[in-house]
């Protein structure tokens, strides 16, 4: 009985930790878009807009492929 309870508690703790990690990741992904777009220097996840802006200004493109950490 004690062993089962320990296993159940352990599983619940693990699940809670995984849930927290997933929530953290979700927050990071959402905040990344918010912060980068607010800073204004980067075109976020919109390649056609980048090409259009480069064509309009004559500037070269700097395209960064970067996962949200």
């Amino acid at each position: 009985m004690t062993k089962s309870l320990t296993l159940l508690t352990g599983s619940l703790l693990l699940a809670a930790t995984a849930l927290n990690a997933a929530e953290d990741r979700r927050e990071r992904v959402l905040n990344d878009r918010k912060e980068v777009e607010a800073a204004g220097h980067w075109i976020y996840n919109d390649l056609p807009k980048g090409f259009a802006e480069a064509a309009r200004t004559g500037r070269p493109l700097l395209i960064v492929v970067r996962c949200v950490p």
Binding site: I43, G50, A54, P60, L61, I63, V65, V68
Partner: protein, 354 residues
């Protein structure tokens, strides 16, 4: 940076693979490009999992930016020299075209729903490419197993704080035989202007495969002189690359080792186990626990077993070399005879290929 139109892409979903060809194990890859889609150069290099500063730096990024601007300034007069930098024809135009990824991800991230789960990672593209070979029961080609080789595969160590400056030349290497010297700055390779270590890797990646030796023409600046060098890449040159650090190697471990992570035994471990220095002695560092990564565990392999014979091969192999042997010679469904050393005893096991 203000002189560029800066675009940040955070997903591989629907990535145009006819344009964005790079080392998919990177978590940070940069393209410098004209609006007509002509690529001026690439930036972003990685050779290990933890220490990014080993391969990239703010200093070399700044140099690459300046060099890209210079190429843009002289464009299109320099278009011919940029021809080799352009993407190669590819069978799969987007990740969704790979059979193992088809229909799994939508083109855009689901910001209103499960945004994390909706994101395809770049490394999944390489995983899918290898899986395609495997599912077709074809040997995985060298350039797919060893993508974007680091310059040290040909004996060149480049300074991460410079564009492409030689920091060291390995004795006896192809680079030494070609005449490369410390402090040489690589101006061009195969006629392509080099603005970063990633550009060097691009040339190496696209050099001929293992079936025929390749020759690369280089121009370096040494002191004030421009010098032309010829780099002869011997047969199998890619196989000097270490792929153990790569995220995509995780799936190779599933295919070739049933989820085992292997590490070469140290000289001390070999001595204690009375194993020869030139013999196979791969220690099981980790045994996968779940799903297809638990196949070796189910077959009886345990942590700290030492593989001393695999398919009757007993000569020294690194984990990367063993994977290449198995993935080019053994197909899913086959079972490979393996002898492990466990507590001083030799035990025979069968390792299923996937």
């Amino acid at each position: 940076m203000d002189e560029f139109v800066c675009v940040r892409l955070v997903q591989a979903n629907a990535l145009d693979l006819t344009l964005f060809q790079f080392d998919y194990d990177l978590t940070f890859a940069v393209f410098f490009m004209n609006t007509d889609r002509t690529i001026y150069g690439r930036y972003g290099t990685r050779s290990e999992r933890k220490d990014a500063t080993k391969d990239i730096s703010i200093e070399s990024f700044r140099e690459a930016l300046a060099a890209a601007l210079a190429l843009h300034k002289h464009y299109p007069a320099n278009k011919t020299s940029l021809a080799g930098k352009q993407p190669r024809p590819t069978q799969f135009k987007t990740p969704d075209d790979f059979p193992s990824l088809a229909g799994k991800y939508k083109p855009a991230l689901d910001y209103e729903g499960k945004v994390v789960q909706s994101c395809m990672h770049c490394h999944q593209v390489r995983d899918a490419e290898r899986r395609f070979f495997r599912d077709e029961r074809k040997p995985i080609a060298d350039d797919v197993l060893y993508p974007y080789p680091m310059p040290n595969a040909v004996g060149l160590s480049l300074d991460p704080k410079e564009k492409a400056k030689v920091k060291d030349v390995a004795p006896g290497s192809a680079a030494q035989k070609a005449g490369f010297k410390v402090a040489d700055e690589i101006l061009s390779l195969e006629g392509q202007p080099i603005i970063s270590i990633a550009d060097v890797q691009w040339v190496l990646h696209n050099a001929s495969d293992a079936s025929e030796p390749a020759t690369l023409n280089a121009q370096v600046v040494r002191g004030r002189k421009k010098i032309n060098l010829t780099l002869d890449l011997g047969r199998d040159w890619r196989r000097h690359s270490d792929i153990a650090w790569r995220t995509t190697t995780w799936d190779l471990r599933r295919m070739a080792a049933g989820g085992l992570v292997l590490e070469d035994s140290t000289a001390e471990e070999r001595h204690d186990a009375r194993l020869p220095d030139d013999g196979l002695a791969l220690r099981v560092k980790y045994v996968g626990e779940y799903g297809e990564h638990a196949v070796a565990k189910k077959a009886g392999f345990k942590k700290d077993d030492v593989l001393v014979s695999v398919d009757r091969q007993t000569t020294h192999l690194t984990e990367s070399e063993l994977f290449r042997y198995l993935l080019q010679n053994k197909m899913p469904g086959e079972k490979i005879s393996v002898t492990v050393l466990r507590g001083g005893e030799r035990i025979n096991l069968e390792l299923p290929m996937q």
